[in-house]
């Protein structure tokens, strides 16, 4: 795999060149927070951030997105017909995506891209995008990526992995999309044979101080976990806001809504959250998760048990720590994971010893 070196002096020039062939998205500092935004002509992505407050999932999964439009005006020939909204799926590149967030895209893809169903909105945006990652040399105290199936130099989900190396960036071109991007930007200097990246990776991994244990989750009985006593305490403080799921790069739930203004309407989808009281409420009025306890349990069971059992790809959490930092009442997924992982009798052991 090719590793190139981008002199920081050539960085802006390359970005300018890319503006011609790609739409550019990258982290921008707004007031005190970094967010991923479309970079208008000439703007250079600011790579001096630790992590963004919101994950970049909106790049492929916008918080609200129009799908169809229609007219209720009977005098029009096309009244009451759903028409697709025009979309822009021209090539785009996201800079500065963190390896954990890139891995999250791969997890989310399992939901939007299956043999049976292909979600055109998510997939079209995903395929139009080149993902350029930025390795983390100074992770936060809340990052637990290395025990959540990823890491500060993890490559899954990325087309290019960049790392800061003093006067230059090292960029590992991981896919054809990545190679193409480097060519368009005019970045071609080979970094030669060097193990700098490997050494930086080891150093960065050593800086991750927070961990979770997940090894016993798949062996637990789902119903026993579901019926466990601890949910009462785990959920007590929760105020059922959407913060944890909205900031999470792996949460994929959405709602579909029709909105009509006068005689014209649109059908759109918006993020949803299992923490909200009306999530999956039935038209009969029946609410399968009418209480806070049920909703909190759903979030953690989905991430740490149902997903684990269904896909056998680890937990549905990449350890970015956003929910830990931003939950207004400090409900900490690491604490909950520990409670679940160490709950009751361990069934795997029973099976193994029999």
């Amino acid at each position: 795999m090719k590793v190139i070196k981008i002199d920081k002096k050539d960085w802006a020039k390359g970005i300018k060149a890319l503006h011609k062939a790609y739409g550019l998205i990258g982290p921008v500092k707004e007031k005190e927070y970094f967010t991923f935004q479309v970079l208008s002509g000439g703007t250079i992505p600011d790579l001096e951030f630790r992590n963004t407050r919101l994950s970049p999932k909106a790049v492929v999964f916008p918080q609200s997105e129009d799908m169809f439009e229609y007219s209720l005006d009977d005098s029009r020939e096309d009244h009451h017909l759903l028409k697709e909204v025009e979309k822009d799926y021209s090539p785009r590149v996201v800079f500065g995506i963190r390896p954990c967030d890139a891995k999250a895209l791969e997890l989310v893809k399992m939901n939007f891209d299956t043999d049976e169903y292909k979600d055109p909105y998510w997939l079209n945006l995903y395929e139009a995008t080149t993902f350029v990652g930025m390795a983390c040399d100074s992770p936060c105290s809340t990052c637990f990526c290395t025990t959540a199936g990823t890491g500060p130099y993890h490559e899954e989900g990325l087309d290019v992995l960049m790392a800061d190396n003093g006067d230059s960036y090292l960029a590992k071109l991981l896919t054809d999309k990545g190679e193409k991007l480097a060519t368009s930007a005019g970045w071609a200097d080979s970094a030669g044979k060097s193990d700098v990246l490997a050494a930086k990776k080891t150093a960065a991994e050593a800086k991750i101080v927070s961990t979770v244990s997940t090894e016993a989750l798949s062996g637990k009985d789902a119903l026993e976990l579901y019926n466990a006593d601890f949910w009462e305490d785990v959920s007590f403080a929760c105020i059922n806001c959407g913060t944890c799921t909205y900031v999470c790069p792996t949460c994929w739930c959405f709602d579909i809504q029709d909105e009509v203004h006068g005689k014209s309407g649109k059908r759109m989808r918006t993020w949803d959250s299992c923490m909200f009281p009306i999530f999956t409420v039935h038209t009969t009025g029946h609410n399968p998760r009418a209480t806070k306890l049920q909703r909190v349990r759903q979030r953690f069971m989905h991430k740490l048990k149902y997903f684990v059992d269904k896909y056998d790809k680890g937990i549905m959490c990449v350890g970015c720590g956003r929910c830990v930092r931003q939950c207004p009442v400090n409900i900490d997924i690491r604490r909950v994971c520990e409670t679940m992982n160490s709950f009751g009798s361990d069934n795997t052991c029973a099976v193994q010893s029999s």
């Binding site: 005190e32 403080a237 806001c241 913060t243 909205y246 809504q257 830990v324 207004p328 400090n330």
Partner: protein, 315 residues
């Protein structure tokens, strides 16, 4: 505030042991600097997890709504006023509660400290009037009064207005406080400037509803934002829907809000939506001489009619 924690544990243990209450609602130490977790203790053995410091900004009254048990609840000044409001609004009964009052010295503004600190905040400790912040690069000390939450800076009711136990002697109330300078500043602007101001204020909102859910006043079984028949509010990021949510919610709090600051504290994107409720709070005070939650013996401003009520707003 040293000593508060010990006293809270002592009282809680006594109340649980002699079965005066079934549970104590308080705080336990959080996993993050400047964060504590609302926490329920059901047995005397667990009272050692209860703590008190300058990071107990969440309003615990929120956890009382419609509960049926006998409850001991830790209450600082603003919480106690919301407890009064809860009792007046039939959300809990007075005789269900043992109120453990905390004379409050203010909560610290975790966002401001994160902004002041260089690098990530790793640990925060405190003495009576100093806050020590440890980051990757070193340690910094701040005067507590400089890093208080905005609402605590202008608070004039730090002592619980209602209590059965008190963890310490009452503190001196802040004097000569200009509580509404920020509201007057907005009132003085031209309409288009106000429009632009609120536009910018609410632009980052992601509609997570942490603000309303952290609020003890927002207890409707189905909030208007969730109503589907009819649907009052669209669910997208349309700025009009976002504004409608905020303005309507603020009006639902008129004459009830105690400016506890729980909403602002909870917001993950740092929006000061308190400005909206504060305007209504100020109007209630100016026009009706009303402050929410001060006594169980008076009905809220919007709950009663008096012949001498001002009517200047009727045009």
């Amino acid at each position: 505030m040293s000593g508060y924690t010990d006293k809270i544990r002592e009282i809680s243990q006594r109340l649980l042991k002699d079965c005066s209450v079934e549970m104590i609602i308080g705080f336990r130490k959080g996993t993050q600097p400047m964060m504590n977790e609302p926490f329920v203790v059901r047995s005397a053995e667990d009272v050692d997890q209860l703590i008190w410091d300058s990071n107990c900004g969440i309003n615990l009254t929120n956890y009382l709504t419609n509960r049926t048990e006998k409850i001991g609840i830790i209450a600082k000044g603003c919480d106690s006023r919301n407890i009064v409001t809860h009792i007046l609004e039939n959300k809990i009964k007075r005789d269900q509660l043992v109120i453990i009052g905390v004379p409050c010295r203010g909560m610290i503004d975790r966002r401001r400290i994160a902004m002041l600190a260089e690098g990530e905040v790793l640990a925060v400790t405190e003495t009576d009037d100093a806050i020590v912040v440890k980051t990757g690069t070193g340690e910094n000390e701040y005067k507590k009064s400089d890093v208080l939450q905005q609402n605590c800076k202008v608070c004039v009711h730090r002592n619980p207005v209602i209590h059965d136990e008190l963890v310490a002697e009452p503190v001196e109330e802040q004097q000569d406080i200009d509580r509404y300078a920020d509201v007057r500043d907005i009132e003085a602007r031209k309409p288009e400037e106000k429009w632009a101001f609120f536009d910018e204020l609410l632009a980052p909102c992601i509609r997570c509803y942490a603000c309303k859910n952290a609020c003890p006043l927002c207890y409707c079984p189905t909030c208007f934002v969730d109503e589907a028949k009819p649907q009052w509010l669209g669910k997208s990021q349309d700025p009009m829907d976002i504004r409608t949510f905020h303005f309507l919610r603020a009006y639902h709090c008129a004459g009830r809000c105690t400016d506890c600051g729980a909403c602002e504290r909870a917001c993950p994107v740092g929006i000061n939506m308190r400005l909206l409720t504060k305007k209504l709070e100020k109007d209630c005070l100016d026009q009706y001489g009303w402050e929410a939650g001060m006594s169980l013996d008076s009905r809220p401003a919007l709950d009663i009619y008096r012949p001498d009520d001002p009517e200047a707003f009727i045009k």
